[in-house]
């Protein structure tokens, strides 16, 4: 990371598997970098203050709210957004499970939700309900009431899982 003449910071990130160098203002959020500078619109902005989870991305395989991170803090990191994850077979399996369980309504919360769940599954392939709930407690969804989302996660963990009405 280096400051340059225009007061910008040069950073280098691995974005969706490809190394990328960009110069960013020091106070630019990672969310702005991803959406506006890099043009990746699958990461959503729902609040910009870390309350909704719509902007969730993976940074070094951890789920992070992009609106709470400054772009220069991504320097040297491995960053994955929905656009990159769309190519990963295990992520695709999660998407299929969500589709099968009708876990998407408007779809605005969906990329962030999927990524929060995915980050959990990377660490713990067979999480229990409590762990799943904790992983998405920061992802608001105003449409679904969360049940079909949980059902989708169940199915991703175990394809034979039945619909379960309870949350915990």
């Amino acid at each position: 990371m280096q400051g340059n003449e225009q007061g910008l910071v040069d950073i280098s990130i691995t974005l969706n598997g490809r190394e990328q160098k960009v110069a960013v203002p020091a106070d630019m959020s990672a969310l702005k970098l991803i959406r506006e500078v890099l043009g990746l619109k699958g990461t959503k902005e729902g609040c910009s203050i870390g309350e909704c989870g719509a902007c969730t991305i993976l940074v070094d395989r951890q789920a992070v709210n992009a609106c709470l991170v400054f772009a220069p803090q991504l320097d040297g990191k491995d960053v994955q957004t929905i656009e990159g994850l769309n190519r990963e077979p295990r992520f695709q399996a999660l998407q299929q499970a969500f589709l099968d369980r009708h876990a998407v309504q408007c779809g605005f919360c969906t990329p962030g939700l999927l990524i929060s769940v995915y980050a959990l599954l990377l660490e713990e392939p067979c999480p229990d309900r409590d762990e799943v709930i904790r992983s998405i407690a920061g992802n608001l969804c105003r449409c679904t009431g969360y049940h079909q989302i949980l059902s989708g996660v169940d199915r991703a963990i175990n394809p034979d899982a039945e619909w379960r009405p309870d949350v915990g």
Binding site: G42, G46, Q95, Q105, C106, G107, T110, Y146, P165
Partner: protein, 756 residues
């Protein structure tokens, strides 16, 4: 009826579901238009003030600022509103609430636009403000609009309440209060637009009603309708708020003057500040019941605070009145519902249009009456339930698809089990358990007014069908359901059906995505269009197959002989044939539900063609040390006529329960205080109870394949069920929503539960 359908009743993959899961649909804020200017709105910091002057010279001179617009730049009618027009796009001489739009900035960058907002000088002269609707009706109250502070009233008078109360064994009277509620859809309002080569202003927006947007924007700009085209972008929920023109008017104004692409994206804070809220209602209800549990009379007064502008207020006032007493037969009623202007944020449509507030009051009353009689709450509901042949408070005789009793019966085993086992179970001393019921009925479509939908189905030369509909799917899944209806009627595979939706340049109006009306009304329009096309296909097929058209059916991509399916001709062949003969294959459909307008004095009439019914049961526990409420389970039985897509119905029910739980326990928008999701909380995954959706299908003869609707009904019973459960748990009734920690503690203290 036991007809087996191919597609209807199947939970097929959601239309565009895969794309949504991949994050691909473009929401308004995702649209990249080359060279687009950034728009920002300067908003009022005063609740009620005259504008003495707006000085934008310094702001205009800032680098990157292109232009600053005020009301003077509006070429047409600077008043908007779907029912009554009272809301300026940009205020003229005064502001009526916090967040009113004062000026519009167009700039080359967000930074420049923000700098301009800071630099515009507005001189206000404060006016006395009124925030209480009761006070707003008094003589001394400051006038918010020149015509007075009473927006409207709706009376429903039926029978003789004096005789009714005289016949009552028990009478209870109570006042209920609900709060402002923020829709809090996940996608903040946004839009983007450009002027196309024909000079048409093309606006992509997050909206629930593109055709209304077009008429409003063209009116504001004094342009013929054809000069404005609204295209719904992917929309991240709406719940009623995106029925108002939010960004669209500003984008139109800037396009009109600048002829350059522009974009406007609200921050979450702006979406909180500047868009409609749910009306807070004050409801005083007096109800009488005879010794057998039969309701004898009710007197209701409803005060709806519509804030500074009407928006959907008139509809809310009316619907609250019609639904005030819930799904029960009652001969003697006097209901008075008033809509009042205040200097609060304006209130508009929100999932249920006043019915959720009304259900909180009326279902609380049912439990109070039952308690006085020593009767079981389920029993009193059964005794009074609307059933086929019943007459509603507006004098409408219900003939078919009256599934309330079925909903109560579906709930009953869960209710009895909860009562017998769950409620008396040993729990720690500090926990108190309660169970509660909430019932509801809900008229599908607009109240006693025309609200047609239209649709067009076109078949190309290869036999592929395309559906053209103005219907805006905001996530709830109407596109999927409409395709199912088309596929079923034409015997097509749903995967092969193309769709063009919610684009005023390419589709005709389907009306608003509101009032739970799209499955029933637009579904019927699609059915009509499909049937017309089917008739053409059958008559073409009849000639080929040398059979009477009436013996033919459409099935599996073919026109087939009903009695001998091996005799058939594929739609592809027929379509090719039609083309040769110069016949265009299309069907145009329309549906307007049969309603009558309500009598202005007595409120009598048939305001809806059909009603949805539901009952929910809530099981909850209260921690008497902290006041914390945990809803453990909600069983939700909903009569939807027919579930065209059962998983969609379940999704609506679970989402409705979540929103209802927020309404019941945590959500209260406070003007000037709750500014973002940081201080306004909506339910998260960990707040959710177990939900058991039970789909009841009391087929609606006039519905497409028997369907009615479920979007709003899903939410309506939840808060009353929770309120009734809380009353049982605490031994003290909470009559103001939300039943937050303070109110629960207060009720508990009154009941002697805490600190004893």
């Amino acid at each position: 009826m036991n007809l087996v359908y191919q597609t209807v009743g199947q939970s097929i993959d959601k239309k565009d579901g895969r794309q949504r899961l991949r994050g691909e649909p473009l929401f308004s804020a995702d649209l990249e238009l080359e060279n687009a200017l950034v728009l920002k709105v300067l908003r009022s910091s005063k609740a009620h003030a005259e504008i003495e002057s707006i000085d934008s010279d310094a702001a205009s001179a800032l680098p990157g600022v292109v232009q600053i617009f005020t009301a003077r730049d509006i070429p047409g009618r600077n008043l908007m509103g779907i029912i009554n027009k009272d809301q300026p796009l940009l205020v003229v001489d005064k502001v009526r609430s916090l967040g009113d739009a004062v000026a519009l900035v167009a700039a080359e960058s967000e930074t420049a636009a923000n700098a301009a907002l800071q630099a515009i000088r507005v001189d206000y002269r404060d006016l006395p403000a009124v925030f209480d609707p009761q006070q707003a009706l008094t003589e001394e109250a400051p006038l918010i609009h020149a015509e007075g502070n009473l927006l409207c009233r709706r009376d429903i008078i039926r029978g003789d309440i004096h005789a009714g109360f005289a016949a009552a064994a028990v009478i209870v009277e109570q006042t209920y209060q609900t709060s402002f509620v923020e829709h809090a859809f996940l996608e903040p309002d946004a839009g983007a637009g450009y002027v196309d080569s024909d000079g048409v202003l093309v606006i992509h927006a997050s909206t629930q009603n593109p055709h209304y947007d077009r008429s409003e924007v063209s009116g504001v700009l004094r342009l013929p309708k054809e000069r404005v085209r609204i295209i719904q972008a992917a929309t991240g929920g709406g719940f009623g708020s995106k029925l108002d023109v939010n960004c669209q008017g500003f984008i139109g104004l800037a396009l009109y003057h600048l002829q350059r692409p522009v974009r406007l994206v609200y921050t979450r804070e702006e979406s909180f500040l500047a868009t409609a809220k749910r009306h807070p209602l004050t409801i005083t209800m007096k109800s009488g019941v005879d010794s057998t549990g039969k309701l004898t009379a009710a007197k209701v007064r409803i005060l709806c605070d519509t804030g500074a502008y009407g928006s959907y207020g008139i509809a809310v006032v009316s619907r609250a009145a019609v639904h005030a007493l819930g799904p029960y037969a009652l001969d003697n009623v006097a209901i008075e519902s008033l809509g009042v202007y205040t200097n609060n944020p304006y209130c508009g449509a929100m999932r249920g249009f006043g019915a959720p507030q009304a259900a909180f009051a009326s279902e609380s009353q049912m439990d109070l009456l039952a308690a006085e009689l020593g009767m079981d709450p389920l029993k009193i509901r059964k005794i009074n339930a609307l059933r086929p042949g019943s007459v509603t408070v507006t004098g409408q005789k219900l003939e078919a698809s009256v599934g309330y009793l079925e909903c109560l019966e579906a709930i009953e085993p869960y209710y009895q089990a909860a009562k017998a086992e769950w409620l008396p179970a040993q729990v720690p001393e500090y926990r108190r358990r309660g169970i509660g019921l909430g019932g509801m009925f809900y008229g599908i479509g607009n109240t006693g007014t025309k609200n047609p939908s239209t649709a067009r189905v076109v078949m190309d030369q290869t036999g592929q069908a395309t559906l053209y509909t103005g219907c805006a799917d905001i996530g709830q899944g109407s596109s999927t359901v409409l395709i199912q209806i088309l596929a079923e009627t034409l015997g097509l595979e749903y995967e092969n059906i193309q769709m063009v939706a919610a684009d005023t340049g390419r589709t005709t109006s389907a009306g608003a995505t509101s009032a739970s009306r799209q499955t029933y009304i637009s579904g019927n329009a699609v059915l009509d269009a499909s049937k017309k096309l089917a008739a053409i296909l059958c008559s073409l097929g009849a000639r080929q197959l040398k059979t009477a058209a009436s013996d033919l059916v459409l099935r599996k991509g073919q026109v087939q002989d009903r009695r001998d399916p091996s005799r058939g001709i594929s739609l592809a062949e027929l379509a090719a044939l039609a083309r040769k003969q110069g016949i265009e294959l299309f069907g145009e459909g329309r549906f307007d539900p049969v309603t009558t307008s309500l009598d202005p004095e007595t409120g009598q009439g048939d305001p809806y063609a059909t009603y949805a019914f539901a009952c929910q049961l809530a099981l909850l526990s209260v921690d008497v040390l902290t006041g914390e409420v945990r809803v453990d389970k909600v069983v939700a039985a909903h009569d939807v006529g027919r579930a065209v897509h059962p998983e969609n119905v379940k999704g609506q029910i679970c989402g409705g329960v979540a929103m209802g739980l927020g309404f019941a326990l945590m959500e209260a928008f406070e003007p000037g205080k709750t500014e973002s999701l940081k201080d306004y909380h909506i339910p998260t995954c960990s707040d959710m109870p177990e939900v058991i959706p039970l789909i009841v299908e009391s087929e609606e003869p006039s519905g497409p394949y028997g369907a009615k609707g479920v979007g709003e009904p899903a939410l309506i019973p939840t808060a009353p069920a929770i309120a009734n459960g809380l009353a049982l748990a605490l031994g003290e009734r909470i009559t103001t929503l939300p039943a937050n920690l303070e109110r629960v503690l207060e009720a508990g203290l009154k009941a002697g539960l805490f600190g004893a």
